[in-house]
C-alpha cells in the first residue's frame, strides 16, 4: 500500500484575491510518529524560509501564533503526533507557502535530497 495515500489530511486553503497583501491559511494533521522533533522542525523552517511571505504557525487551539521560520520556536511549540497544525501566511507568495508547508507535513516530512 502506498503510504502517502493513506494519510488522513484535513487541508483547507483559502485565499484573498489581492496578490501583494495576500493572506492564506491552511491546516494539516501532524502524522509524524514522534511529533514535531528536531528533524521535522528543521525541514519545516527551511522550507518556510524559501518564501518571502511572513508565515505564522500554531497548534490548533493555541493562543499565540509563532514564527514558522524559527526552528527554536517551532521546537518550543511542542506539537505532538496527531495534533493539527495551522498556518497563516501574508505576502505575495502566501498561498504557495501554505500549500508547500501543508504538503510537507501531510507527506510526513519526506527526504528530498539537498
Amino acid at each position: 500500500m502506498d503510504k502517502t495515500t493513506t494519510i488522513s489530511v484535513a487541508k483547507a486553503i483559502t485565499e484573498t484575491p489581492q496578490p501583494e497583501n495576500e493572506i492564506a491559511r491552511g491546516a494539516v494533521e501532524l502524522v509524524h510518529a514522534v511529533g514535531m522533533h528536531a528533524r521535522p522542525a528543521v525541514k519545516l523552517t527551511k522550507l518556510a524560509k524559501r518564501f518571502k511571505a511572513r508565515i505564522a504557525v500554531r497548534v490548533a487551539g493555541a493562543v499565540d501564533w509563532i514564527d514558522a521560520k524559527s526552528v527554536a520556536k517551532v521546537m518550543a511549540m511542542r506539537a505532538a503526533q496527531g495534533s493539527v497544525i495551522e498556518f497563516e501566511a501574508q505576502g505575495a507568495d502566501a498561498s504557495a507557502a501554505v500549500e508547500a508547508l501543508t504538503t510537507l507535513v501531510a507527506a510526513d516530512f519526506p527526504d528530498t535530497g539537498r
Partner: protein, 512 residues
C-alpha cells in the same frame, strides 16, 4: 584522556561585539557543516538542528539587541542559550529534555570561537579510550575513531544520541562508570562487561584480544548471511520474521534484515498502571508499520493471564492460571477493553500491511465471535468518518484442541506458539524447572501437531509460521523445516545465527 569540560577563555569586550558574535556564529556554522557533510545521515540530522539554530533570526534577534544595549557578545550568547537549555530541561518529553545537551554543545562551540580557541583542542591519540562525564554528538564526530578506541562516560545514557552514533559506528562505549580514572598509558575498555581497567595485566589484554578477534570473525559471517536476501529450502523460500515487544526492539542493528514482524506482543502496553487508550495504542502500532514499509506486520491482541497478570484485567485468583481465563478467553470476557484494542488495530490497518492474530484460541466459535467484534469495530469507525479497515485475521496455535481441528478454523493465517503448545501437549508447567527434560519441544506429539498445521496451511495456501523460542535456536531449524514450516519468527538478536544455519541447510538441501 578526558575530552569534555566547558570552554575556558577570557576576552575583552571590543568595539564591535555584534561583529565578533557574527564571526563566531559563522565559524560554528562552517565547522558543523563540515562535520555534517562527512557524517552519516543519522549524525547529519542531529547537526542540522544546530546549524538551523545558528540561522534562526527569532533566536538571534534578542541577542543582538542585548549587544546593542551594551552587553558583551559572550555574555549575551551564553544567557540566551541558558534560557533555551532551561526550557528544554523543563520539558515533560524525554526526547526534548535530551535536546538540552545539543544546545549546550552549540553554546560551547560558539563560545570557543569567540575566545579564539580551537574548536576541537583535544582530539588526542588515535585509538585512545576517551573519557568524559558525557559527550555531545558533535564532539563524538570530531574524534577520529578509525584507529579504534572507545568511549567511557562517567554519566551518559545508553539511549542518548551519542550512544546511537557509537553503536552505528561500532565504537565500544560504557556509560554510568561513576568515576573516570586519571589518564594512563594503557586502558582496557570491555564494553561487553561495562568495565574500564587502567594499566591492565597482560593476561587480561590477551584474553580480550582473543574474544575481540572471535567476535569480529563471527560478526563478519553473520553479516554475510544477513545480507543474503533470499534463502530457500528444497527450492521453497524461507521467511525469517521478528518477535518484538514494541518499536524499540526494531533498533537492533540486525532487525532491518528481517522479512517483517511475525509477532508483536501487546502485553507491554498493558503492563503499566493504566490500560492504554485507543490513541496511544494506534500510535505504537503505526510506528511499527512505518518501520516495516512493504513488509508484513503481525500484531497479537493482548495475551494477558497465565504467567502474565495485568492489574485491572486478569482474574485475581485462579488455581491454574495457565489453564485459566487468559488470551482471547479474557478478551471475550472484557469486550469493553477488547473493543479499544480492536479499534486501534482497525485504524492502524488503514496505514500498512497489518495482520492481527488472537492468542489461546480453543474453538472456531471463539474465533468467529472475536472476528465479529472486529468487523463491528471497523463499521463503527467508518460510520463515524474515521479511516479504518479490517486486516487479515489469524490465530495462534497453542491449544492442542485447536491444532487437532485446524481445518475447522476459517483463519487467514496461523502462527504456532510452540512454548505453550509444548506445555499443553506434554502437560508440563513451563515455569517448573523440575520438568525441563520432559517439556521437550521435540516431543513427537508436539512435532506431529506442528506437521499437521503446516500441512493444512500448504493445502490451503495460507501462511503458517512458528514464533516460539525454538524458532530462534539454530539446532531446531532442520527438524522444523522437515515438518514443512517455511516461516519462523524470533527475537532480533537470534536472527543472524538462524540465518547462518539456514544458509548451511539450504546448500545441503539443494544437493538432496
Amino acid at each position: 584522556m578526558r575530552a569534555d569540560g566547558a570552554p575556558l577563555g577570557q576576552r575583552e569586550a571590543g568595539a564591535d561585539e555584534a561583529g565578533a558574535l557574527r564571526a563566531a556564529l559563522a565559524a560554528a556554522d562552517r565547522q558543523l557543516s563540515k562535520l555534517a557533510a562527512a557524517a552519516g545521515k543519522d549524525a547529519a540530522e542531529i547537526l542540522e538542528f544546530q546549524i538551523a539554530l545558528l540561522a534562526d533570526d527569532a533566536l538571534l534577534g534578542p541577542i543582538f539587541a542585548a549587544i546593542a544595549q551594551g552587553a558583551a557578545a559572550d555574555a549575551a550568547w551564553a544567557q540566551a542559550m541558558a534560557e533555551q537549555i532551561a526550557d528544554y530541561r523543563a520539558a515533560a518529553d524525554e526526547y526534548l529534555r535530551a535536546r538540552s545537551a545539543d544546545i549546550a554543545d552549540l553554546r560551547d562551540r560558539v563560545l570557543s570561537a569567540l575566545y579564539g580557541g580551537e574548536a576541537n583542542p583535544k582530539t588526542g591519540r588515535a585509538g585512545a579510550v576517551i573519557c568524559a562525564d558525557d559527550l555531545p554528538p558533535s564532539r563524538f564526530l570530531e574524534i577520529d575513531w578509525s584507529a579504534g578506541g572507545g568511549l567511557a562516560l562517567s554519566q551518559g545514557s545508553a539511549t542518548s544520541h551519542v550512544a546511537m552514533l557509537a553503536r552505528a559506528r561500532g565504537v565500544p562505549m560504557v556509560v554510568q562508570l561513576g568515576e573516570v580514572p586519571e589518564p594512563a598509558d594503557a586502558a582496557l575498555l570491555d564494553a561487553d562487561e561495562g568495565i574500564l581497567e587502567v594499566d591492565p595485566p597482560v593476561a587480561r589484554i590477551q584474553a580480550l584480544a582473543t574474544r575481540q578477534e572471535n567476535q569480529v570473525l563471527s560478526r563478519a559471517a553473520d553479516l554475510a548471511a544477513l545480507e543474503n536476501p533470499s534463502i530457500s529450502f528444497r527450492g521453497e523460500p524461507v521467511r525469517l520474521m521478528l518477535n518484538i515487544q514494541g518499536p524499540a526492539d526494531l533498533d537492533h542493528p540486525d532487525a532491518r534484515y528481517a522479512d517483517g514482524v511475525g509477532l508483536m506482543r501487546t502485553e507491554f502496553l498493558f503492563g503499566r498502571a493504566d490500560l492504554p487508550d485507543e490513541e496511544k495504542q494506534r500510535s505504537v502500532y503505526e510506528q511499527v508499520l512505518n518501520w516495516a514499509g512493504e513488509r508484513p506486520v503481525v500484531i497479537r491482541t493482548v495475551d494477558a493471564g497465565g504467567d502474565k497478570p495485568v492489574r485491572g484485567l486478569t482474574e485475581a485468583r485462579e488455581a491454574n492460571p495457565f489453564l485459566g481465563v487468559r488470551g482471547l478467553r479474557l478478551s471475550l470476557k472484557r469486550p469493553d477493553i477488547f473493543a479499544v484494542q480492536l479499534r486501534a488495530l482497525a485504524r492502524a490497518a488503514a496505514l500498512g500491511k497489518l495482520r492481527v492474530m488472537f492468542p489461546m484460541v480453543t474453538t472456531p466459535e471463539e474465533f468467529k465471535t472475536a472476528r465479529r467484534l472486529f468487523v463491528q469495530a471497523v463499521e463503527e469507525l467508518k460510520s463515524a468518518g474515521v479511516r479504518a479497515s479490517l486486516p487479515e485475521i489469524g490465530i495462534m496455535v497453542e491449544v492442542p484442541a485447536a491444532a487437532l481441528t485446524i481445518e475447522s478454523f476459517p483463519a487467514s493465517f496461523f502462527s504456532i506458539g510452540s512454548n505453550d503448545l509444548t506445555q499443553y501437549v506434554t502437560a508440563c508447567d513451563r515455569t517448573n524447572g523440575a520438568l525441563a527434560s520432559l517439556a521437550d519441544p521435540l516431543n513427537p506429539g508436539v512435532l506431529e501437531l506442528i506437521r499437521r498445521v503446516a500441512e493444512h496451511g500448504r493445502k490451503l495456501g495460507v501462511s503458517v509460521s512458528l514464533c516460539g523460542d525454538i524458532a530462534g535456536e539454530p539446532r531446531y531449524l532442520e527438524t522444523l523445516l522437515r515438518c514443512g514450516l517455511r516461516e519462523f519468527s524470533m527475537s532480533p538478536p537470534a536472527l543472524a545465527a538462524v540465518k547462518r544455519a539456514l544458509a548451511a541447510l539450504s546448500r545441503k538441501s539443494d544437493h538432496v
